[in-house]
Amino acid sequence: MSARQSRSASIPIPAARNIENVISMPFSTTPSALSTTRPRLISNTRPLTVHGSPDRGAMSTSRTNVASSPGRPVTSGSYSSIVARPIVGSNNANHPPFEPRIIRATSSPAPPVNPIDTTCLPNPTPPATARVRRPSTGRHTNVTASSASHIIRPVLTPNASIPAPSGGASLHASPQAFPRPAYLDHSAFRDLIRTNATVPVQFTEPLQVQRTLTGTTSNAPIPAPYPYLRRALSPAIDSDDEGSASPPPPAVSNTTSSKGIWSGKATFPLPTRWSEMDRHASLSISADGRDLTFCGPSCPGDRDSAAARANEPIPPACGIYYYEVEILHKGNKGHISIGFSCNDVRLSRLPGWEKHSWGYHADDGWSFPGHREGNPYGPVFDSGDIIGCGVDFSQNRAFYTKNGTFLGMVFENVGTDLEVYPSVGLRHTGESIRVNFGHEPFRFAIEDHVHSAKNRVWSNIQSTPINWHVLRGESAKYGEVVEGKKAGTHDEDDDAKESLRKLVFGYLAHHGYLETAHAFKAQCEGKPTTMEDSEFSDARDDEEDMDMDEGPSGSLSSIDEERSLRTRVNIMNNVLKGNIDAALDQTCAHYPSVLEREQGLMLFKLRCRKFVELILDASEALKKVKSGDAASHERGRDTTVATKVDQEGGEMMDDGGAMDVDDPSPEAQTHTSNSPSLDVSSSTTSTTGKKETTSRSPSSSSTASSPSHSSSGSALAKAALHNALKYGQTLESDYKPDTRPEIRSHLKRTFGVVAYPDPLAVGGEVAEMAGQEARVRLANELNQAILESQGKPAHPALEMLYRQAAACVAELGTQGVGAAAFADMSREFLDS
C-alpha cells in the first residue's frame, strides 16, 4: 500500500530507455504454449527472489517484480543483457524509485494522445502513426511461439519503466502478457479463447478472404485448431487413422453465409487491459494497462463519475468469465463500482447506474442492476481488498467474490443481447484500482467454481428429455403440436435404445465389421440377452417390438443385402492386402458403375495402386536377393532365396483363393472377359501376361514367371521390376490424354515411388503413398464409392450424428449461448 501511496501525478518518469525495449512483450500464439503455461504454475515453480515488501498479502507473491531466476544471466544494472529478452515492464510496480506507469496530465484531460489500443500488438514495432488496432495479417503471430514460457518470468530490471510521453509523441505501453487463465480450460472453446488479438479478426473482412485463408494449408488463420472445427491442414485429413471418416468438403463455397465463427470471428480474444480509448478522461491508465487512477478533481455532480472498460468484450464462449480488482486506494468516500457494461453506456456514470451496466459498489456494498435503485448485496470493500467479478453465461447472471469468498449470484440477463465489457467506475481524486484479467493467479478458487458449474450444466443437458422430432430433423415446435404418438409411460428410453441399435448396426455394416455386425444382430433379435428383447411383450409393446426387430436387422433382412455386405468387405480386404486385381475384378463384377464414377477416377486410383504394389513387390524381391546373398556368403548355400520366395508366392495364392471361396460369384473367370470399364486395365494385363492375372498376386506372378527352383533370386527381382515398369508405362500412356489436375498430380506422386529402392523405408510423402495407410485410404474411398453407388449415404449415420451435434454446439457458442461452452463433446465422449 505504501508503495502505492507514493504515486502521484508528479512522479518523474525516466525516459532513458529505447522504446523497443519496453514495448509489449509478444504474446504467445501457439495453443500448446498457451495451454501448458498457466500463471499459477509459473509463479509457483519459478524460483523467485522477493525484494519487494509483501505488504499486499497473497497478491504480493505474484506481484513481486524485482525477482529473477537465479540461474539466469541477468544482472542488475546490466541493461544491455535485458534488452534481448522479453520484458514485462509492469512487473516493477514495487520498485521504489520508479513507477512503470504513465501519468497523464491531470489538468488537461485531453483525449488520449494516441487513442489506439497498443495492448494487442504482439510484436515490438517501432512507434508508428499508422498503427492499426488489430493486426490484420498473421505476420505477428509466429514471433513468439517459443517465448510463451518466458512470458511471466519476472526480470530484474532496475531501470525498467516506461518512457513518459513527451509532447504529442505516441504512447507505447508495456502491457503484461499472460496465457489463457486455467479456469477457461473448462470451456469447450478453450482453443479459440485467446489473450491476444493477433489473429486477423476484422469484422468487415470479406468472407471470401477468410475462406481462401482457411482453405490454404499452412496459412490458415486459425492458429489454435479447434477440435470440432479444425480445417484439415492437409488434404488427407484422416490419414492418421483407419481412414477417412469425414465428408468431402463441398466443391464450391464462395457463398455468403451467416455470422459466426466462420464468417469473421475466428477466435475469441479476452480482455487484457483497460482500453485507452474507452475510458473517462479523468482516469489514467498505467503503462501495463492494469491500474486505473482517478486523476482529475473529484466529480462535482451527484451523478458524475468516471468509468473505464476493458479493451475487449467478454466472449460468452468462455461459459464463465472472471476477473479480479484490487482496491489500491479507496479514497475518502469509496465511490468505486466494479462490474460490467456494454459499450453504449456513458463513461460518466458508475457501472450499474445505467441500463446495460451492472455494478457492485464499495461504499455501501449494494449491487446496481442497471438503474439507480440498487439492492443490498455484499459487504463494503476497502483499500487492499480484492473483489472478484464473474459472469456465468450459462445463466446470464453475475457473481462477485471478496478476498476469495463467494458472495452469491446477482443480476439477470447479463449479456443476453449485447456484448459486455469488464468495467470499473471511480468518482474521487486518489481512488485507484488494479485489475487482474488473468495476469496473475486469482484469489478466488475460480477453477473449482467453473468446474462445478460445468458439471451442473452438463448434467442439465443430459437430463433434458429427448425430443424425437428434433432428432428426426423436424421442427421442435412441430413436435409440440403433434406430441403424443405414444401416450404416457412409453418412455423415450425405448426409442433411444432402438435408435442406437440402428445407428450402431449401420455403422458396423458401413465399415464392414462383418462379424461384429452378425454377432450384434444375433444378440439383438435372438436370445433375450438384452433387456429390450425380453420375453415380455404386452399389448402396448407389441408394435414396438416389431419395430425393434426390424431396426437393426432391417438393412440385413434380405439375403441380397447380406451378400452385398460380404462382397464389399471382400473388396476392401483385397485392397488392404494389396490384391488390387482381385478388388478390381470384384468391383467390376458387382458394382461396375463404381469404376465409371467421375470419369473413371476410382478405376484410375486402383490402377495406380496396382502399380505401387508391383513396385513394392520388386523392391521386396530385391531385398531378398540382397539378404540372400548375405546368407549365401555365410552358409554357402544358394537355394534359400528361391525357396523363400516360393513360399511367399504360395501363401499369397492361398490368400487369393480364400477370397474367392468366400465370394460366391465367379469373378475368377470374369477378369479375363473384362467388362467395358475394365478395358483399359485389360490391355495392361494382357501385356504383362496371363499368368499374373490368374494368380492375382503380383509377387506370385513373378514367382510363376520364373521356373521356381532353378531361377536365382536376382532373376526374380529383375522380372518383378520389369513387370512393374511395364505396367507403369501402360498406365502412363493410358492416362496421358487425361488432363484433370487431380489425375496428373496423383500420377506424378505415384511414379515418384519408383525413384526409391525401398519406398516404405523412405518415409515422408513417398512412404505415405506406398504404405499401408495408402491402402487403407483407398479401401475407404472404394467403400464409400460403392455405398454411394447403392444410394446409401457416404457416411454412417452415427458419424453424422457426432458431426451435426458438434456443429450445433459450436454455432451455439458463437451465438452467445454460454451453456454450449460446457457441452464439451471431445472431453465427454472421446476422452477415455
Binding site: 472445427l229 479444425r230 480445417r231 492418421d240 469425414s246 465428408p247 468438403p249 463441398p250 463455397s253 457463398t255 453465409s257 451467416s258 443430459q462 429427448i466 424425437w468 428434433v470 432428432l471 428426426r472 430433423g473 421442435a476 409411460t489 435404445k497 435408435s499 440402428k502 450402431v504 455403422y507 465399415h511 465389421y513 462379424e515 461384429t516 454377432a519 450384434f520 444375433a522 444378440q523 433375450p528 440377452t529 438384452t530 433387456m531 425380453s534 415380455f536 454412417p796 449415420a797 452415427l798 458419424e799 450424428l801 457426432y802 458431426r803 451435434a805 458438434a806 456443429a807 450445433c808 454446439v809 454455432e811 451465438q815 449461448v817 454450449a820 457441452a823 465427454e828 465422449f829 472421446l830
Partner: protein, 224 residues
C-alpha cells in the same frame, strides 16, 4: 427474410463445418465399443475388439455375469439375481440398501404375481416390514406393493399399482441393478452414445431458436 433476426446458415456452409469437425474412425470405434460393453453385447464386443483392433475397457466376462443377472430379473427369478450379484461383488448390495430393498420388493411382487399369497405375506412381514420402519420411502413402497393383494388382478386397480406387475417394473429393477454393477466396476451407467443423442436433441432444439440450419435426420443420417 423472416422478421426474426435468426441467422441463416446455408447448406454448403453447414456441410463445410461438418467436414471440419474433428473426429476419427478410432474415436467412433471406441464410442461403439463403449456402447457394446455397457449395453451388454458380449459377443459383438468380442468380435469388435478383434475386427477393429480395440481393447475393451473392461473384462468382457463381466458383461456376461451382468447379463445373467439381468436375465434372471427379467424372468422374475429374483433370488437367483441376488445370489449372482453377491457372487460378483457382495459390496454392491451392502452399500446400497435402497437397491436391496428394491430387489426384495421385486421378489414380493413376483410372489403376488404367481398367486403365492401366503408366502408373499410371510415374506413381507419378515423381510420388508422391518426395513419399512427404518425408512418412510421404503414403507410407502411396501404399502403400494401390498395393495396389489387387495386388487389382485382386477382391472380396477389404479395404474400406479397395476404398473408394479408390468414387465416395465422388472426392467426398471434390472436397470437399477445393472447401473449399480456398472458403477461398482467404475463404468459409466449409460453408454456415451446415449449422451450424444441427448446432446444432439438439446443442441438442435436450442439452435433452432437462433438460426436456420440444415436439419439432420439422426436415425437415417441424411438431411431433410
Amino acid at each position: 427474410m423472416p422478421p426474426s433476426n435468426k441467422s441463416h446458415i446455408r447448406k454448403e456452409e453447414w456441410e463445410r463445418r461438418l467436414h471440419d469437425v474433428h473426429i476419427s474412425r478410432n474415436d467412433l470405434n471406441r464410442l461403439v465399443m463403449d456402447y457394446l460393453v455397457i449395453e451388454g453385447y458380449k459377443t459383438a464386443a468380442e468380435e469388435f475388439s478383434r475386427e477393429a483392433d480395440l481393447s475393451p475397457s473392461v473384462d468382457l466376462e463381466s458383461i456376461e455375469s451382468r447379463m445373467n443377472i439381468r436375465e434372471a430379473l427379467q424372468r422374475g427369478d429374483v433370488a437367483e439375481a441376488i445370489t449372482r450379484v453377491n457372487d460378483l461383488n457382495p459390496e454392491i448390495l451392502d452399500m446400497n440398501p435402497a437397491l436391496y430393498f428394491r430387489l426384495q420388493q421385486q421378489k414380493l411382487i413376483e410372489f403376488i404375481r404367481q398367486g403365492r399369497i401366503q408366502e408373499a405375506l410371510e415374506f413381507a412381514q419378515e423381510e420388508l416390514a422391518p426395513r419399512g420402519e427404518e425408512n418412510p420411502e421404503f414403507l410407502s413402497e411396501l404399502e403400494k406393493t401390498m395393495a396389489l393383494l387387495a386388487f389382485e388382478s382386477s382391472p380396477l386397480a389404479p395404474p400406479a399399482i397395476a404398473e408394479l406387475l408390468s414387465p416395465g417394473q422388472r426392467l426398471k429393477t434390472a436397470s437399477a441393478v445393472n447401473a449399480a454393477i456398472l458403477e461398482s466396476l467404475s463404468q459409466a451407467k449409460e453408454a456415451k452414445l446415449v449422451g450424444m443423442l441427448k446432446l444432439m436433441s438439446w443442441g438442435a432444439s436450442m439452435l433452432e431458436e437462433k438460426a436456420d440450419f440444415p436439419k439432420l435426420d439422426v436415425i437415417e443420417g441424411t438431411f431433410n
